[in-house]
Amino acid sequence: MVKDTRLSTRLWAAANWALIGFFVLNLFAMIATVVTSSFATRWLGTWFPAGWTTRWYSAAWSEFQLSDVLTVTFQIVFLVVFLSGLIGVPAAYALARRDFPGKKLIMLLFLLPLLVPPITFGIPLATVLYRTGLAGSMSGVVLANLVPTVPFVILVMIPFIEQIDTKIEAAARVFGAGTFKLFVHILLPLLMPGILAALLLVLVRTIAMFELTFLTAGPTSQTLVVALYYAVFAAGVRAVQSIDAMAVIYMVTTLVWLVIALRFVNPTQIVARAKR
């Protein structure tokens, strides 16, 4: 990181900024198109809509049964968050604190679901879930979503737990804390920031997780993103604005959680942790 002021360096920096600007501009313009359209009365062949209205939101709300969809979405998401924490954190703790034969193999097992994209393992998984009758129900969707989130929690938590000095736990034991008290009074408070960060990311991921939910959901277990997909897929049946209103609702749901998540974690660290 040496400061440099020569012309070629400045030109290069300017080109970089232009690239960043171009990307961000188009990204925002794309989002703005959706938002604008969702408030438009009629928008055909002009820069801006003919007039403004909020009626598409109520239309979308009733047309797509969004209250049901949102309820289902959050039930699924919170179940996934809770269960992946419950299964993932203890496993991460064991892996961070113990070295045992076969640990490498187990680490590989936890790495694979993150390396293999959801649609690849989703199809055999959905097949199995359909055979067992779990697919189409909420529990099937939750189970499918847990496949990538449990390893995600584990891989994010391992380095976090490793950085906590084992002497603190030793000290607590010396002073008479049993396993349960150790966990409640020492580990949980120390791990809380990490758990919170990991679970918030799981939450964002699960809201946005299309493929696994799509492959396993039935009519009563659709999440918002799957409902949105069907709406876009069947475009023409319904007004574009109504679909866009739904898209905005979806966007707000994910972005709110993203902003909350980023208050607790630096995005670079997440990936740095997840990259093994």
């Binding site: 313009a29 293999v116 199995v128 390893p151 990259k275």
Partner: protein, 299 residues
């Protein structure tokens, strides 16, 4: 102890296991392991088995059908023809931006903005691009107003729509990964290079790039795998019956339109193998590179 006096007293089994790292605490890993065995490994093996028990014909019938029907085997080339350019494009976009962001003091706002597409997800980006890139969308309007083009560019329901949406959704991840590898390189190394007479280009070529390449190889693999499994954008933004009929569409149709789970599993297995081949090739090349820590000394 019942052990004879001539041998050393037997250590209880539990203690012996504990000495090897297996005790009560280690068992905490079991629920997660069992869960993944049941819902990841088992379905995978089941799928593999299923793919060899086709609805009709011998064990290899599904695979024979896949590789004799150009409508099916063509999807591999279609997918690669999308995934490889997309991966390279996102990398080429992410590397200079990551370098720029690294020099900034307040990176947080910009990284947050650049990360947004991850959370929006593929479906929303598809819907947004349908509006934005359409013949009457702001993108074409702006270009026409600026006089760069005379009639709208067709970017939807073809290769380019899918390509663009994949770059947008794939960029944040590639960028974050590159940035995190880049921040792992000790800045003192660059300073040392400078005091030894290396200008910016030499510092990049001889110091940063060699230290970054192994990380970039990993980034390439992960981005590639994401792009390879493209599904919603290929359906919504592409031409799912033609130029962007990617392999995941073929798998989906087999499973949920023809209800031929056996064939669907076979396609999923082929998909996995193709990904694996590319990933292994890249990682193999990575094996030739320096892969130690990117720090400048002790600690």
């Amino acid at each position: 102890m019942s052990a004879p006096a001539t041998t050393t007293p037997a250590i209880p089994l539990g203690q012996r296991l504990a000495a090897r790292g297996l005790d009560g605490l280690t068992l905490l890993v079991l629920p997660a392991v069992l869960f993944l065995l049941a819902l990841f490994i088992y379905p995978f093996l089941y799928g593999l088995f299923l793919s060899f028990t086709p609805k009709a014909g011998g064990a290899l019938a599904n695979y024979q059908r896949f590789f004799s029907d150009s409508f099916l085997y063509g999807t591999i080339a279609t997918t690669l023809w999308l995934a490889l350019p997309v991966t390279i494009a996102t990398l080429l976009l992410a590397i200079p931006i990551a370098f720029r962001v690294r020099l900034m003091r307040h990176q947080r706002l910009l990284t947050t903005i650049l990360v947004i597409p991850i959370t929006l997800g593929t479906v929303l980006v598809a819907e947004g691009l349908l509006n934005y890139l359409g013949p009457q969308g702001w993108f074409n309007r702006t270009l026409m107003t600026l006089g760069i083009i005379s009639s709208p560019v067709k970017l939807l329901h073809n290769y380019w729509g899918v390509m663009l949406s994949l770059v947008i959704t794939g960029f944040p991840f590639t960028f974050l990964l590159t940035l995190s590898y880049l921040t792992g390189v000790d800045p003192a190394l660059e300073q040392a290079g400078a005091t030894l007479g290396a200008g910016p280009w030499d510092r990049f070529r001889h110091i940063l790039l060699p230290l970054l390449l192994p990380g970039l190889a990993i980034t390439f693999c992960l981005s590639f795998v994401q792009a390879f499994s493209v599904f919603p954008s290929a359906v919504l933004l592409g031409a799912p019956a033609g130029p962007t009929r990617v392999i995941s569409i073929a798998a989906y149709q087999a499973a949920f339109e023809e209800y031929d789970y056996s064939m669907a599993s076979a396609v999923a297995m082929i998909m996995g193998v193709v990904q694996l081949v590319i990933v292994v090739a890249v990682l193999g090349a990575r094996g030739l590179l320096y892969r130690g820590p990117a720090g400048g000394g002790k600690g």
